[in-house]
Chain length 249, copies 2
């Protein structure tokens, strides 16, 4: 029986209720570390535990619900320049019976990449939210450990094949800043010289602004050229992670 013929004679109110929520794995880089946005839970179940931000889907597209949740939790409002540049994509949907002890909850998870955002301000509705380095984001409520792990793996993979690393930095950035994004997300240092040449050789990854930074680095070094994101949606050739042989079996 297909979806529609089933629904034709079907009143969903007769069935056990299903709730649809949207959860967001929001990643950013602070002080060279990859961080995820978490909220502190107030109510049962999992009271006091940390969880991914999320909420009930209203009468809106699922993507819009994800943006709304992110906006509510960070205290940032779309239209002020902060949330516009956030990269957002659907991650995966989690719907196992029992993942919420109270009822059937189907949760559509989203993955977001953001440039370094201000810490959510106390006093706002978002006071319970804060950025946590991903290694310390363990023991989350519900199945959010798994959701986060899936999000991290997706993020690491995305950096290989797409220019989405640019979503973690400002509109203008140096190659060194971009390299720090890769280092933070992949969790390993990259060879500066080879990375530099590689990034510039991929068509459409970055384009020069003609400008340079006003000063050199904090610990010395010359001024760096500034770039902005190019028009490529895929990286050809890709920027592959250093292969760990055992990862593929």
């Amino acid at each position: 029986m297909d979806e529609a013929s089933f629904l034709a004679g079907y009143d969903p109110r007769d069935y056990p209720a299903v709730a649809v929520t949207v959860d967001v794995v929001a990643l950013t880089i602070r002080d060279g570390r990859l961080c995820v946005l978490l909220v502190e839970r107030g109510a049962q179940p999992f009271a006091g535990r940390r969880a991914l931000p999320g909420g009930f889907a209203r009468d809106e597209p699922l993507d819009a619900a994800a943006i709304r949740e992110l906006s509510e939790e960070t205290g940032l409002t779309p239209g002020e320049g902060h949330l516009e540049r956030v990269h957002l994509e659907q991650l995966k949907t989690y719907g196992d019976p029992g993942r919420d002890p109270r009822m059937r909850v189907v949760s559509v998870a989203y993955l977001a990449f953001a440039p370094s955002l201000p810490e959510p301000t106390a006093g706002s509705d978002a006071a319970r939210a804060y950025w946590v380095p991903v290694e310390e984001a363990t023991d989350l409520a519900f199945d959010h450990d798994e959701v986060l792990a899936d999000g991290l793996e997706r993020a690491r993979s995305k950096l290989e094949y797409t220019p989405s690393a640019t979503a973690f930095v400002g509109t203008e950035f140096t190659i060194g800043e971009l390299r720090q994004v890769y280092a933070a997300v992949w969790g390993e240092e990259l060879h500066a010289g080879n990375f530099h040449r590689k990034v510039l050789s991929v068509p459409g990854f970055v384009e020069s602004t003609g400008e340079t930074t006003a000063r050199g680095g904090e610990r010395g070094g010359p001024k760096a050229k500034l770039y902005r994101a190019g028009d490529a949606r895929l990286l050809h050739p890709a920027l592959l992670r250093p292969t760990r042989e055992d990862r593929v079996r």
Copy 2:
């Protein structure tokens, strides 16, 4: 407000009902052509139109619902050896308001790769289902054109980085059969010699059975060595599609 604190004081029966369905983009290769499983809709809306197989999610994991739908539509039962080797993965979730004219329906789409299956038999519950070459699968009900397009793009990409092409052939196969899978999914011929060497050079992609086919090809040619799927979950290095420069912008 996060998901759980919202739900704590929330009775979903007070809200507009949301239905969760599972749709399946099931792909197979018949006569060298990539085909998708479609069903003919009987009821309104979209009566008489073709749609992807799918249905309401019951009290079961979402993956289980997808397998169940596939089983019901093809008339094949798990445990008879046909559905075991089907590769199944979650594709994407579609939940825009208005995608079903009657009510809010959130649909979790799955992508399935199957070896050539028998045409669903008339007389069974699956009589309305049949395999259609993907180029002819247009004008589908709901937003299923978009779902199918997303599924095809995912399938093409999967063949690059994973050994999932082996899910389209039998447990034992020749390199030539594998090449026909790539040709059908990517829609372009591949150089036989280079493909052959490439497949054998990727660690864990295929392993030799030591056997060969009993006969040569129908139109001539020598007996071919037989292989089975190896233990790799990712292809290193990958089998990249011939690059079309304009695809990446």
